[in-house]
């Protein structure tokens, strides 16, 4: 009777609470994470219960937040940092890429960097500029960082536990448009490895691979395709660096077709890497080129245009048609 239905944002909140309770070295840091509980209320109540020494409202300075988190990690703490929105991470990009990612290698393994950087990301909520971007490929490209994105409340809960316990820096992308989606969370469960993909829907005709906010869309696509008599398999990647290519490969060897779906621009996005590797691994199994559905090579558009920009049911179904036409 451990399972409990809760929203994804609440699951992260409960996970952070558990981490704060179980390890006195865990700290929460960021802008507005204290009394306000974060602009999405993900840290709601933590400041009240754990105090400002554990749940730290910081000055408005992203580089400062990550840079001091590095120092705290050097002192033996495990900071969980919130960047308020995706587009605001770039002032901290230098600290993340040149310092956080490299410290372990630079010290020949003597220093560990157990820092989690939480970034609410992606669109679909009608926000203004810099509040809807998907910069995950920019982090996945950097050796020394691990990048993950849960798609549902249960994963959000457990992947946060695992990210905090990791001795490596983990960029934890939260699908903000799924914050309010509810799912059963079993707090007693034994989770699978953090960087393992999962087949969330079995199928035989084509594989859809996605992560974060696009997993739910792909499940809807599979439902719609089923009505047309097509059997689509959906793989939730869960981890963007490293990618669990074995699970995708096994799926593609079965279905012989793959479409990767993400919100980020297609050009040099994580879908490009997956397409290239799966083509290498499964060349003789593929019946069609690996296709990608994602954002355009354009700035994230104003809210009234984001429905045109973001992958939706029809765009993915169109790609399904194109793949099956080969």
């Amino acid at each position: 009777m451990a399972a409990e239905k809760m929203a994804l944002a609440k699951a992260i909140n409960e996970s952070l609470r558990r981490a704060l309770e179980s390890d006195p070295k865990v700290l929460i840091m960021g802008e507005d994470v204290g009394k306000l509980g974060g602009v999405f209320r993900v840290t709601d109540g933590l400041h009240k219960d754990f105090g400002e020494d554990r749940v730290i409202d910081t000055p408005l300075a992203e580089s400062g937040i990550v840079g001091t988190a590095i120092g705290l990690a050097l002192r033996g703490y495990r900071p969980v940092v919130e960047i308020q929105f995706d587009g605001f991470v770039f002032p901290a990009y230098d600290q993340i890429v040149t310092q956080l990612a490299k410290m372990h290698a630079r010290s020949l393994g003597k220093v560990k960097m157990p820092v989690v950087i939480r970034i609410p990301y992606g669109g679909g909520i009608g926000a203004v500029e810099h509040h809807s971007e998907s910069p995950e490929a920019l982090f996945a490209h950097v050796a020394g960082l691990k990048v993950v994105s849960p798609s549902n409340a249960a994963d959000a809960y457990w992947m946060m536990q695992q990210a905090i316990q990791s001795d490596d820096p983990v960029i934890y992308f939260e699908p903000k448009r799924r914050y309010w989606d509810k799912a059963e969370v079993d707090k007693e469960a034994i989770p699978g490895p953090l960087h393992t993909a999962r087949v969330v829907r079995e199928g035989t005709d084509l594989t859809l691979a996605a992560y974060g906010p696009m997993v739910k869309l792909c499940q809807e696509v599979a439902d719609a395709a089923a009505e047309e008599g097509r059997s689509l398999e959906v793989v939730d990647l869960r981890s963007i660096s490293p990618v669990d290519f074995d699970t995708i490969q096994a799926s593609v060897e079965k279905t012989r077709r793959l479409i990767v779906v993400h919100e980020a621009p297609v050009f040099l996005g994580s879908g490009a890497e997956i397409a290239a590797r799966i083509t290498e691994r499964c060349f003789y199994h593929l019946e069609a080129p690996v296709l990608r559905v994602g954002g355009y090579h354009a700035p994230y558009p104003p809210a009234r245009l984001e429905e045109e920009y973001l992958p939706d049911l029809d765009r993915v179904l169109d790609a399904v048609d194109r793949s099956l036409a080969y």
């Binding site: 400062g64 050097l74 033996g76 310092q99 220093v111």
Partner: protein
């Protein structure tokens, strides 16, 4: 084994390539002309009125009532300790000269000399306690010396065998940081942790005048002030950020920056080892007492180039260097030691011999420093491992193994 695999030979001879030097960028050849601006006057004004000095360039003790509080931190210094400071500076300079020579001989790819900054580094470094933590930039060879880091450890990254290479926790001396000013934030975060732990140790962050222009340094000042972190910011104003003078970095004397963030700033004669020691003791002491951060601007001069890739003759005049030579940190302490009869000829002769021994050891260790194992590329990228690194390591191993036959020929 296939024909093509067996026949393959390395296209490049492994390990034969000398450590590359960083080429200096092609300049315009135009000599920078000194501008007469009001900003320079402002900076100099601060220097004239606020400089804490306890030992003049002529080697005379300064009895200045205005700086009595700082002076009290070295009031009971013994002749033995004074000789120790002198020894530290001489050996650090000797090490630095050896490293410069080794770069010229092609043994190091690059070197960032500290020549001229010995007093700032030894004075501040000797002010630290064993449980304090030091965050250097990449020129703090004298501070490393004070922390007990084997100087040859500093040379690995300059030779190109690693990107750091020592355990920061062995001597509480963090790795050199190349991106300017980043470590000011690390030091501040570390100091926030010290305060959380209820410890009474201090943290000191080193950076230069150029770094004062970086956002990270200002953010570090602000975080340190807001959280009352026990961190001392030690800015070595050596007048030049590669070719850019202070005029291009700041409109106000650097130590005055602190005031805007809500903590004290002080300008010390960075060529005066006693004053550097005293002021840093003062700043660390108040940090340990929970009184928060302080900024020390050590007013000094980089006698050599920024690094061995640099050519200072393009941007600064010989007379400027000559003026600073007259303020040499080692010479002034020697004058004081001699006039106070704190050291005899035997001491100086012994130290000279010790210097030569150090130089010889450094030379030998560097030349014997092996190239890293080629698989080091894949080591310590992650603490918990990463599937892609594992895969690429295996590919690399297979590729290397494909040369086995060719190498045997």
């Amino acid at each position: 084994m296939t024909e093509s695999t067996a026949a393959r030979k390395p296209r490049r001879s492994a390990g034969s390539k000398a450590a590359g030097t960083t080429g200096s960028k092609a300049g315009t050849g135009k000599r920078t002309t000194r501008t007469t601006s009001t900003t320079r006057t402002a900076a100099e004004k601060g220097s004239d009125t606020e400089l804490v000095q306890l030992l003049t360039p002529e080697g005379e003790r300064v009895e200045d009532a205005a700086h009595a509080e700082y002076a009290s931190y070295v009031a009971d210094i013994t002749p033995d300790e004074l000789r120790g400071l002198y020894r530290d500076m001489v050996l650090t300079r000797r090490f630095d000269a050896e490293a410069t020579a080794l770069q010229r001989q092609g043994e190091l790819g690059l070197w960032a000399s500290l020549l001229g900054q010995e007093a700032a580094q030894i004075g501040s470094g000797r002010a630290t306690r064993e449980d304090d933590y030091v965050f250097p930039t990449y020129r703090e060879h004298g501070v490393a010396w004070c922390r007990g880091v084997d100087p040859t450890n500093l040379l690995g990254m300059f030779r190109g065998v690693n990107n750091g290479g020592w355990d920061p926790n062995s001597n509480n001396f963090h790795l050199y940081t190349i991106v300017i000013g980043s470590q000011a934030l690390h030091a501040t975060g570390y100091a926030m942790g010290v305060a959380k732990d209820g410890a009474d140790s201090g943290v000191i962050a080193y950076f230069g005048d150029g770094a004062s222009s970086q956002g990270d340094v200002s953010e570090a000042f602000n975080f340190a002030a807001v959280y009352n972190a026990p961190v001392v910011f030690f800015c070595q104003n050596n007048q030049w950020a590669i070719s850019e003078s202070n005029e291009k970095q700041t409109r106000v004397p650097l130590y005055q920056r602190a005031q805007g963030f809500g903590f004290p700033g002080v300008r010390v004669d960075g060529n005066d080892v006693l004053a550097s020691l005293a002021v840093t003791r003062w700043a660390l002491d108040r940090a340990r007492r929970g009184e928060g951060p302080a900024l020390i601007e050590a007013y000094t001069y980089r006698m050599g180039a920024h690094t061995t890739s640099d050519d200072p003759s393009r941007y600064r005049h010989d007379d400027e260097r000559a003026a600073w030579e007259a303020k040499d940190p080692i010479l002034r302490l020697r004058r004081f030691l001699e006039s106070a009869n704190h050291a005899d000829e035997g001491f100086f002769a012994e130290l000279e011999a010790e210097s030569e021994t150090l130089g010889k050891r450094v030379r030998e260790v560097v030349r014997a420093m092996p190239d890293p194992d080629r698989f080091a590329i894949f080591e310590n990228v992650y603490a918990d491992g990463h599937a892609l690194v594992d895969e690429e390591r295996a590919q690399f191993a297979a590729y290397q193994a494909s040369f086995a036959d060719a190498e045997g020929v």
